[in-house]
Amino acid sequence: MPKTISEKILADHAGRPEVFPEELVEVRVDFAFGNDITAPLAIEAFRRAGAKKVFDRERISLIPDHFIPNKDIASAIQARMLAEFAKEFDLPYYFEVGRMGVEHALLPEQGLVLPGDVVVGADSHTCTYGALGAFATGVGSTDLAAAMITGRIWFKAPPSIKFIYKGKLRPWVGGKDLILYTIGRIGVEGARYRAMEFAGETIDSLPMADRLSMCNMAIEAGAKVGIITPDSITEAYVSARAKRPYKFYNSDPEAVYEAVYEWDMSDIEPMVALPHSPQNVKQVTEIAETPIDQVVIGSCTNGRLEDLRLAASVMKGRKVARGVRCIVIPATQRVYLEAMEEGLLETFIEAEAVVSTPTCGPCLGGHMGILAPGESAVATTNRNFVGRMGHVESKVYLSNPAVAAASAILGHIAHPREVLN
């Protein structure tokens, strides 16, 4: 029977010829990880279960990234739990400050999550790795603990929804805009419990960084996974960095989808999600002139080198508007170094932005850029819920890095061409 890429990966990992949507399956896990917020609960559950070892020390990663470098004593104690656990079980992929990055930027960059994998992470944006053709999904800490012990997890196989994008994208429109557009169309529960499969000619030519941004936000539509069939772009990205063998899966042409959407993307402008939901999406031109107090460029959604290049291309030779704080956060140490070598950091600093060490920090209102009551921010992050970046009376607008950079320069939400013209 024809199958989707998600169904094929699950079937192989369950040791079955095929699986059907809604079926409960127990599958083998290729990689499991947690961060400084979620891993402490997983470690507590691991110990309560009386486990004496992990299923495979090379398939588990602990990444302190949310409240690090430690923002306070309580966070320091949580981060230390990860370090101690990693030492006790001799985990090679524990990433200390100085080696770390925002987890969903770091793990693909390091070649630790790969096409065809089943990946579970105790973080909702684990769905990012669908960009590589992996079945990757966020789970809670207890699920992570169970996976760390057994190397297995149970899933309800999700029905798939196919999104076919057509047309050539306009300048300054990328993966972030495609996914914001999509969430705007189907809503924050439009793909609840589903696999979102992104396809079509627009995706075929979409660079890996944009694909990662897209799949990253599948969870904002409620999806279990966002996934793209691997191709030559995938091969070029993973072949140089893969730490283990990988396998390309694809969807059969006759595979069954719960729904198929087909959209022409050639006319869309950069998109912005307005407070307080990722589904409140408008074209940037519809809300231009909205004043802002802060800009954050970074995160697991848009903290990659390509994102920083886009932002720098808008900011080069210009200054951040008076009254605006612009915070740039390279997502990993490697991104940081490469951005330095390319002169991007110089561009940001000369523009009077600040450049931070990698951290999730402001995205979740942790630290490094918290908003006061009444303040507004444009952020390249993924969520704009009430209070997400600080006070409950603050606001977050989600955008791509070029729009964020243009907004920083002009002091209000702006299309990049407003700056460059």
Binding site: I37, D56, G365
Partner: protein
């Protein structure tokens, strides 16, 4: 198992930042988390909620982050059950893993209001609204999820399974 309690009603898309804001995630202590439960949706909630009370909500309850602190905070605040039109998937898993009973019931989610006295039969999914003299039927809990609840949560289930299956898994060709 039967649950009886007074209801607190919330709307659609109650996200995990509303259930327990990230600024409090530098602890795993259930009591501390409970003190800030639902803070950004209703600042009075944590101080007014009573043991055994019930949350009713609209669509997509628990959307957003994977933080297990969300069901932990709700459970530690004394909430005995969450009835919603629908749940976000990671929250749904986490609730069962934590042993927090949750029921999907669109009709109930629509009709129930703050203050209503409910009696819920978790086995049958029948929700009786004593205040309005109405009865709603929630979607049945999947057999596998019932197995988890019977075991007392995921880790207890894993512990049962570990002894019999670990040996077989270890020898499996990876």
């Amino acid at each position: 198992m039967k649950i009886r309690g007074k209801t607190w009603k919330f709307g659609n898309d109650i996200d995990t930042d509303a259930i327990i804001p990230a600024r409090y995630l530098n602890t795993t202590d259930p009591g501390e988390l409970a003190a800030h439960c639902m803070e950004d949706a209703d600042p009075q909630f944590a101080s007014r909620v009573g043991r055994g009370d019930i949350i009713a909500a609209g669509k997509n309850f628990g959307c957003g982050s994977s933080r297990e602190h969300a069901p932990i905070a709700i459970k530690a605040a004394g909430i005995s059950c969450v009835v919603a039109h629908s749940f976000a998937r990671i929250f749904y898993r986490n609730a069962f893993n934590m042993g927090l009973p949750i029921l999907e019931c669109p009709e109930g989610a629509e009709r129930i209001l703050t203050g209503d006295e409910l009696e819920i039969d978790l086995d049958s999914g029948v929700i009786e609204n004593r205040t309005r003299n109405e009865t709603y039927l929630a979607q049945a809990i999947a057999p596998f999820m019932q197995k988890l609840l019977r075991a007392g949560g995921l880790m207890e289930y894993v512990r049962e399974q570990m002894a019999e299956q670990m040996a077989a898994w270890k020898t499996e060709d990876r």
